[in-house]
Amino acid sequence: MSFIPISNRHALLGVLSLTVMCCLSPPIFADEIESSWFDSINVSGYAKFAASAPNKQPTSIVLDDLSLFVSAKFNCWLNPFLEAESYDMSIWEAGSGFQFNNIHLAIERLYNDMEITDTDTLRTGKFLASINHWNIVHAAPLVWTTNRPITSTYSRANYITGLQLRHDFDALTGHALEIYAQPAEEFNHKPISSHERQYGTVAGARWILNEDLDYYVGVSFQHAQVAHSDETRNSISIDGNWQHKWFELESELLFTHVDTKEFRHHGNDWGGYVQIAVPLVEHFNLITRYEHFEYADKLESTNTELGGVVYRPVPSLSFKLEWQQTQGSVFHNQTGLYSSVAVLF
């Protein structure tokens, strides 16, 4: 079973109570510290409320993500990490009113890191696939828009259940190589729509040329076998981000060759986006993005223009309001107005 529906308001209250407890827990101060295994454990999380008014769909308010992650650093060999997520919880919808009986839970990440040497780390379990920076850092408070670019998520396996080896060439510049493999299907996967795929065996790599406070650049490869299908996908992408004093520029380009005996309009998925964030005044930021994407299995490509405002008083809290205009084949996110509040705690 890939998710757990619960028709019980007490479960929701339990999750929210835990969240509030985590938010209100006092910081640790030096004179309170006693050495114990509990000091090695860190509990955090994030929440995202989204209000959307897309064309051809009802206006709705959704608790899109309520995520708790627990990590621990015991020694070189035992560094477990768990992220449990409640997602897509509809709170209110035009025509239907308030609803509190639709909770989905999933194990988003569950892995252990073994520090083999100072520069080599072996990760085993379920983790986010190193396909681009957005996928690795996709928490709503950390990204600029409510809606995610298609290029950053579509066409490749976003999660891996298997192994990953990371080698750091240079700690200061972030120059590193990550190689991963998934021998079978993803553990505890979320339900997929007709536009998405479940992946079987997957292998890939990400070469991070630089990742510091000013910019990152990464090149990613992935070979994936679609589960219960003869389809294989080989993708290559490059993504980068440059944080200048006066703007933040981000882009990704993706090409995926799709190999299958089934009918496809095109032999490849390909696309890319360019996004610019410009600081205005008092923590307000202007966001614009243009994306073009062509699907192997759709006749028409998608062109998306997005413009919005983000208020980010501190890095871990953001209020977003954006208008998205979509033409052509629509994978998700129709033309419309989207807003969200997201906090990292």
Binding site: A30, D118, D168, L213, P315, S316
Partner: protein, 136 residues
């Protein structure tokens, strides 16, 4: 008013020119840390001392002058940018530096925790502390 301006002008260079001390516990096996090592530690990339013990970087609140000084000196950047970086590292499963409310709390922390490293603008007098680097 004129007196006030002269007074402010006299005080301003003092705050700008305050020294910054990178401090560690006296039991650390090293005597000096290069700027690149300090940066790697606070970027959460360098996690262990040479003897294998865990490094625990200590931070001051985002509004502290010493933090602005530290971020400018070591990273040529701003506390906001570094804070945003740490939030991303938190999501990746890395624990950001522990924040202490004052320089005195940083000194107390480093005195008690062997693997801790911190930064202060006031030169510590404690015998339990060693200065690993000093910036003007």
């Amino acid at each position: 008013m004129k007196t006030l301006i002269i007074l402010l002008a006299a005080l301003l260079p003092l705050s700008v020119n305050a020294d910054l001390y990178i401090i560690g516990n006296k039991d650390l096996s090293i005597e000096k840390l290069e700027k690149s090592d300090i940066a790697a530690i606070y970027l959460l990339k360098k996690k262990h001392w040479e003897n294998g013990e865990d490094i625990m970087p200590i931070n001051l609140p985002a509004t502290a002058d010493a933090r602005t000084h530290f971020t400018a000196q070591v990273f040529d950047s701003t506390p906001e940018k570094l804070g945003s970086y740490w939030d991303k590292m938190l999501f990746k499963g890395e624990t950001p530096p522990v924040t202490q409310n004052s320089e005195q709390a940083v000194i107390m922390f480093v005195e008690r925790i062997k693997g801790a490293i911190g930064y202060v603008e006031t030169k510590p007098q404690s015998s339990q502390i060693k200065i690993l680097q000093q910036f003007k």
